[in-house]
């Protein structure tokens, strides 16, 4: 139940953001993270972004996924 999905912010208006998860779009609340920006990668849980990844953290996750033959967070 504590599952959180990594996603990219593709639209942003105040505390409402549209995220893309492997191309699927959804609106989420970004009021729980500091200074959300367009293009940020965030962890999303129950409709809220709960953490913002910096680029090196995205790279790490991408490399783990790639090693397992799974898709990354492009989108």
């Amino acid at each position: 139940m504590c599952l959180a999905v990594p996603a990219k912010i593709v639209e942003l208006q105040g505390t409402a953001a549209t995220i893309s998860v492997e191309g699927a779009l959804r609106e989420v609340d970004v009021s729980l993270i500091e200074e959300p920006r367009l293009g940020d990668f965030v962890l999303v849980h129950a409709g809220f972004a709960i953490h913002k990844w910096d680029p090196s953290e995205v790279d790490e996750w991408e490399s783990i996924r790639a090693a397992a033959g799974l898709p990354g967070v492009s989108g």
Partner: protein
């Protein structure tokens, strides 16, 4: 005692086939049985789905603890939710996980089939939207979940308050993890040698919350991500600590977790909730392991606002979910498992929830055994 990201840092570049020889060597060096407990339903699922348990050496056991919020929710909470949904002016909004969990006499799913207005939502904000759209109804959101989920529920209460909504209520049964972990360590029936700490709970809380476990109980804690390689890396980190005689908090999931956590979410939690003692299914009452809504927001607390009563309730006779949640037995040790209790006809919450240990065993281990 510091917190670091684990002497080899992140799992970047590491592969299962390099970690497994290290784990085997560490297990030989330790030379006794080691019990590592994970306390997160997502870890349970990763471990079962990937076959991680089969990769570990014979003397390293991976035990699933009370990491599924649905599984640890008391029967009397479900009875209260069911009683609420029978009121004609109430609309219950819930995460889908709770629908099929049996209460004493019924489940939300049964009540919905009988005509109760129960809506499955993805986010507490969806429940607030229902309150806006249905001003003549009382919307009750079932606030279940750990520290990861509780801030999103807190945000919904603050939003409802700011919007002046008078028909949004939360039936809160949020649980917090550290003192439940300590309670497990005080239980003399099982020896735990290390904790695989929940990743997304710790995104919110920060890793420092586990330090007292290392200091008071001398048990190592590693905050862990959700890919199989994360869990293997965490296993290696825990075994290294055990072999070295150390008990420290380390962060394997450093791509998301810091020592201090999410300050905005913590502030929101403190604004809306206050720590309380909480009843855990299978574990009983654990001091300081729950969150209750502050008096300031009592108008949104379903318990006083709607006069909710919690009646004593007993789980199904024969159901051993409590022992499964404490790691005392594995699901096949329960007489009901796979016979009377299956995912299509579950008796206990560990079989209902997709993250429950019994459901995971049923789905993955039975097939392996067959």
């Amino acid at each position: 005692m510091g917190i670091d990201s684990g002497g080899g840092g992140t799992p970047r570049g590491e592969r299962m086939n390099t970690l497994i020889p290290s784990i085997n060597a560490l297990a030989r060096r330790i030379g006794r049985e080691v019990n590592l407990m994970e306390v997160c339903g997502t870890h349970t699922m990763t471990a079962f789905r990937s076959g991680l348990r089969q990769l570990l050496p014979r003397n390293v056991r991976l035990i699933s603890g009370p990491g599924c919020p649905v599984c640890v929710t008391d029967t009397n909470y479900l009875d209260a939710a069911i009683s609420l949904c029978r009121r004609p002016d109430v609309l219950v909004a819930t995460f889908g996980d709770l629908l099929r969990v049996p209460g004493s006499e019924s489940s939300l799913e049964n009540e919905r089939a009988a005509g109760a207005d129960i809506r499955v939502v993805y986010s507490p904000t969806d429940a607030v939207a229902l309150a806006r759209e249905n001003p003549d109804r009382k919307i009750v959101f079932l606030g279940v979940g750990f520290e990861t989920t509780a801030p999103t529920v807190a945000a919904s209460i603050v939003a409802a308050s700011a919007a002046g909504l008078q028909n949004y209520f939360v039936l809160a049964a949020h649980k917090t993890m550290p003192h439940a972990m300590a309670a497990l360590l005080q239980d003399q029936q099982i020896r735990i040698d290390g904790f695989i700490c929940p990743g997304n709970v710790t995104v919110i809380t920060g890793a420092a919350i586990y330090r007292f476990i290392c200091e008071q109980y001398r048990i190592p804690c590693v905050v862990t991500g959700f890919e199989p390689v994360d869990m293997l890396k965490a296993t290696a980190m825990l075994l290294t600590q055990i072999a070295d005689g150390r008990a420290e908090v380390e962060i394997e999931y450093s791509r998301s977790v810091t020592d201090r956590g999410n300050a905005i979410a913590q502030k929101l939690l403190a604004e809306v909730f206050v720590e309380c003692d909480a009843g855990w299914r299978g574990l009983g009452m654990i001091p300081r392991s729950g969150l209750t809504i502050r008096a300031k927001y009592a108008a949104f607390d379903a318990v006083p606002a709607l006069g909710v009563q919690f009646e004593p309730a007993q789980p199904h006779p024969g159901c051993r979910c409590g022992d499964v949640l404490r790691g005392l037995i594995t699901p096949p040790d329960c007489k009901l498992f796979g016979t009377a209790c299956t995912p299509t006809n579950p008796f206990g919450p560990c079989m209902v929830s997709s993250e429950g240990t019994c459901a995971a065993y049923f789905k993955y281990e039975r097939r392996r055994a067959a």
